[in-house]
């Protein structure tokens, strides 16, 4: 069977046509059907996206003093593909960064978002490492050093609890924050204002696209005609946080409290701003501006003085006599206390089989309400406590916000505890607790627990006679580029149902605490300024009493309210009141202002 030449030609031609057609089908599949995908792949091949960290917002005090600033530091970046392309890259890096090759590989594997996208290998390189790596750049051509900011504290205010610090985002945080554009290795605010206002302070990352060749060498920037998928985006700097802190007062209080445990909270009565918030002992916040070694962390976490805790906001204590006004409000409002009624204090009060002592062993003699408060006579309050009863007392305590959060814009606030019948039943068993417990709680002992912040808030609420404000540290934000400021409206708090006459009476008593003939808080007197306050000396089973002083000034038109607290400090009048005096004189007495700051009342006090 011999085929004709024509037939052979046709068969041969047909075979070629079929093969060429099949190849063309393959091209159609790759170029037309999968074209987009491969286009994207070719773009990803050549384009190196570089995230640009936005400068983080500064924290600026009420007079414009920069409390938290940025200073340049260097971070090391490298693309996974470049590291894998060079056999010795991991070894060189591991030895320079004092880590191990497997650890480094694991880090790169975990954070790989594409072989050609540089990832952060190490942040805030120290100078030695930086120069070491720079020397070896010939071996590691693809390393990239990028400026990033590191926090600094130029004003010398190192209120670590207030500011908080920055740290690398943890895996669990990443899950929650990823959709807001966070990636592994990013810094995020931990604690304090850095955390609370993370979204304001952080800004938005920019993205810079560069073109790289097959070996990872950067060829240049993308031109305008290039793919719109990869437009460069400028970073948006974080907003500056304008806080109500007065740096000079803060520094003053940090100095006064140095070496002690405790602190002070000073509030602006006109709007609830926190003018100072000091908690001691603290820790050197500068140490936290770099990745902290775990040894330091463990040391801080295990310190018996608990420097990591913000005592003003997170810790609760029995408030002692500073809590006595609660009973007066309850009694006066319920008509159960007659201000003129006198109680004889022999130095103790017998209830059932027990004798409850007054702080003054010799007794106060006969005291009326104002005298009782002025001299902080415990016996007077025992008697009135029994008259008013636990339920009313607890109601009024809660009315002033005890037992719940003040809502301050800081992280980790504690609510404290107002014991009522329900609570006592729960804790001790129904009817298992003595009615005598009321005697303890009305003088701020026993089960009642508050934070120093709540006590300052209490003083402000009394000063403002019920028309008050939520404590807050943030006044507003400032655009770092335009300087445009945007202020928040203070959050009003209304404490309803207390008559002005009641406030007037209680405030009168608090005035006497400072200025009366037998004033327990006379150490808070500042010549030329009338002030009101209340001392507290809270006994505690673990040692020396806690010293408290709360108050407000000036008496006629309260501008500031404050709480001073010294843990195991001793007597409130002797230890805490003099610190309050310092606060008043520094803020309100023109002659004693720290040089260089404007007079308090001039500086947006009545904003």
């Amino acid at each position: 069977m011999e085929l004709t030449e024509t037939k052979k030609r046709l068969i041969f031609s047909a075979a070629l046509c079929v093969i060429f057609f099949l190849l063309l089908v393959r091209f159609a599949y790759i170029q037309l059907y999968k074209g987009e995908e491969f286009l994207r792949a070719s773009e990803e091949n050549r384009i190196r996206s570089i995230d640009i960290e936005p400068p983080r917002g500064l924290i600026i005090d009420r007079y414009g003093t920069i409390l938290v600033d940025n200073r340049p530091a260097y971070a090391l970046y490298a693309a996974p593909a470049d590291l894998s392309a060079n056999d010795s890259a991991y070894s060189i890096l591991a030895s320079a960064l004092k880590t191990t090759r497997p650890a480094l590989r694991e880090w790169v594997r975990k954070n790989n978002r594409g072989n050609f996208i540089p990832i952060k290998i190490e942040r805030q390189l120290d100078f030695t490492t930086l120069s070491l790596l720079q020397e070896r750049r010939l071996d590691l051509p693809s390393l990239d050093f990028r400026a990033e900011s590191r926090r600094s504290y130029p004003a010398g205010v190192r209120a670590p609890h207030l500011f908080g610090y920055l740290s690398e985002i943890s895996e669990s945080e990443l899950k929650q924050w990823r959709e807001k554009g966070y990636e592994a290795g990013d810094l995020i605010g931990k604690k304090g204002l850095e955390r609370r206002y993370e979204t304001d302070l952080r800004g938005t990352k920019g993205r810079w696209h560069r073109q790289a060749d097959a070996l990872g060498r950067i060829i240049g920037d993308l031109t305008a005609t290039d793919n719109s998928l990869f437009q460069n985006v400028a970073p948006i700097p974080g907003k500056n946080l304008l806080v109500s802190i007065d740096a000079s007062l803060q520094l003053h209080l940090e100095k006064v409290m140095a070496g002690r445990r405790g602190g002070a909270v000073v509030l602006n009565c006109k709007n609830g701003e926190v003018i100072a918030l000091v908690s001691k002992p603290d820790y050197d916040i500068e140490l936290f501006s770099r990745p902290i070694p775990s040894s330091l962390w463990n040391q801080l976490a295990n310190d018996p003085d608990k420097p990591l805790y913000d005592r003003m906001v997170q810790s609760v204590y029995p408030p002692g006599s500073t809590f006595k006004m609660v009973l007066l409000f309850a009694g006066l409002e319920k008509g159960l206390i007659d201000p003129e009624e006198r109680v004889f204090c022999p130095g103790y009060y017998r209830f059932g089989t027990r004798a409850f002592g007054c702080w003054k062993k010799g007794g106060h003699g006969a005291v009326n309400m104002l005298q009782g408060l002025e001299q902080s006579c415990d016996v007077y309050f025992y008697r009135m406590g029994l008259k008013v009863g636990l339920k009313h007392w607890a109601d009024y305590a809660r009315l002033f916000g005890f037992g719940e959060l003040t809502g301050i814009d800081l992280i980790g606030e504690s609510a404290g505890l107002v014991p009522d019948e329900e609570y006592l039943d729960r804790r001790y068993g129904k009817n298992k607790w003595s009615k005598g417990l009321i005697l303890n709680v009305v003088i701020g002992q026993g089960d009642v627990l508050t934070t120093p912040l709540q006590m300052a808030y209490f003083a402000m609420n009394i000063a403002n006679e019920g028309n008050s404000f939520r404590p807050h540290v943030k006044r507003g934000t400032q655009d770092p580029l335009t300087g445009a400021e945007e202020f928040d409206q203070p959050d009003s708090v209304r404490i309803a149902g207390i008559r002005p006459e009641t406030y007037a009476l209680v405030k009168r008593g608090m005035y006497l605490v400072v200025h009366g003939a037998n004033a327990t808080g006379r150490a808070a007197q500042v010549p030329g300024i009338l002030a009101a306050g209340k001392t507290g000396t809270a006994e505690n089973p673990h040692g020396e009493s806690h010293a408290w002083f709360i108050g407000f000034a000036p008496f006629e038109d309260p501008q500031i309210a404050y709480c001073v607290f010294v843990e195991n400090g001793g007597g409130g009048g002797a230890v805490a009141a003099p610190i309050a005096k310092g606060i008043i004189s520094l803020l309100l007495n023109e002659n004693k202002l720290v040089p260089g700051t404007k007079r308090f009342a001039d500086a947006g006090f009545e904003r």
Partner: protein, 411 residues
């Protein structure tokens, strides 16, 4: 030798000539694009100019071949073949270049004897098959045909250069077909190869078996022949995977290396993938001449030689690919027209062999760029940069045009 030149030039197949110019021009554009990429090594920068020079020389070579009477090639076919074999043997004794004994290095030039042997083998096959008394129904003559191919092919395997050896082996079937071997015998000869490849996957194996049986029934062969062919194929299909699995890893690696699967230093995966990315990203119209980013940024090695078609794919898109393939097909079909109309059996067979060699190069090279053929280092005729390959192809074109001019002669 040169009598009646004017008349012959009139008979020159101008379509084929135009096709060659188009293909070389497209190759030059792609080579130019590659040389303007970033960080181009100095040594590549003058490739564009050099390729023009090679082509100019190539035109002269082709002209010389066209003007040489076919009788000359017929007379000296076995001599050429012998020289080719000698060169293939000699090259095995010179020092290896890039790990293979493929080239004679003469100064800056590299002579690849397998190129000479390729043409010589086509001529020898044509001469033998066209000889008086050769009957391909006889086993002996078919065996001689295979031997003519096998000797140079095995020498090339020894170099090693499997890609080129495959080109040699692939000459067999079309040449035998054109020489008049029964299509059924060709079918029986090819089925085990198909089965061998198909046997690595159960589905493709069954499809291959079904096709084979279907064809056998369609050809209405006797039952015992059908059974024998079928059993042969099933045996191949069943044994191959078993043998493969029974091998040690290093043995498999050797075979894969032998087939040329891992010729590139960054892993075949990388190269084929980048080739697909380059071609795929071209889309329909391509990124435009000199605007291919894969090309510009040198994501593919050997883009001016073996992977030149990726430049076409990336910068001129599916449109450009279709055009180039259409030109190739036009060239090959025109050449087959010559083969079909040649009065001399020798001429027809020479052209059929030339068409086969060209098409195998085109199919393997283009298939490699889109991942359907192994990466074996076969250049794309007329487009890839390189003097000796271009000249070989110009000789092949010269032979085709020669046969075209003299198709009414009986040698």
């Amino acid at each position: 030798m040169f009598e009646g030149t004017e008349e012959k030039l009139r008979d020159l197949d101008k379509i084929i000539a135009v096709c060659i110019f188009i293909l070389v021009a497209a190759g030059l554009m792609a080579i130019y694009s590659v040389t303007t990429a970033v960080h181009t090594p100095e040594i590549l920068k003058d490739n564009f100019a050099k390729q023009i020079l090679w082509f100019t020389i190539g035109i002269m070579i082709a002209s010389a071949v066209v003007m040489t009477p076919m009788k000359f090639f017929h007379t000296y076919a076995y001599w050429f073949y012998g020289i080719g074999i000698v060169l293939l043997i000699l090259v095995l004794f010179v020092g290896p270049v890039k790990g293979a004994h493929r080239w004679f290095v003469l100064g800056s030039m590299r002579l690849q004897p397998s190129e000479i042997a390729k043409i010589a083998t086509i001529l020898a096959l044509a001469r033998f098959a066209a000889s008086e008394g050769v009957d391909l129904r006889r086993f002996k003559d078919v065996a001689i045909m295979f031997a003519i191919i096998a000797v140079p092919a095995l020498l090339i395997v020894k170099q090693p250069d499997l890609g080129t050896a495959i080109v040699f082996f692939s000459l067999a079937i079309p040449m035998l077909f054109w020489a008049g071997l029964s299509p059924f015998i060709i079918f029986i000869l090819t089925t085990p190869i198909i089965t061998l490849v198909a046997s690595f996957h159960i589905v493709s194996f069954f499809i291959a078996m079904a096709l084979i049986i279907g064809t056998l029934f369609w050809l209405r062969k006797r039952l015992w022949i059908i059974l024998a062919v079928f059993l042969l194929n099933v045996t191949v299909g069943v044994v191959t995977p078993k043998v493969w699995e029974g091998m040690h890893d290093y043995q498999r690696d050797r075979i894969l290396t032998f087939v040329g699967v891992d010729e590139d230093p960054r892993g075949t995966g990388y190269q084929v993938n980048q080739a697909k990315v380059a071609i795929g990203s071209g889309g329909f119209w391509g990124k435009g001449w000199l605007h291919g980013t894969q090309t510009k940024l040198r994501f593919l090695p050997e883009q001016h030689t073996d992977f030149i078609f990726t430049v076409i794919g990336e910068e001129f898109g599916f449109f450009g690919v279709t055009m180039i393939m259409a030109v190739f097909l036009t060239l090959l079909l025109r050449a087959l027209l010559i083969a079909g109309s040649a009065k001399s059996k020798f001429m027809a067979l020479v052209v059929a062999g030339c068409v086969t060699a060209l098409s195998v190069h085109v199919i393997i090279n283009i298939g490699m760029c889109v991942g359907v053929m192994p990466v074996t280092g076969i250049p794309l005729p007329f487009l890839s940069y390189g003097g000796s390959a271009l000249w070989t192809n110009m000789v092949i074109v010269g032979l085709i045009l020669n046969a075209g001019v003299r198709r009414f002669q009986y040698l």
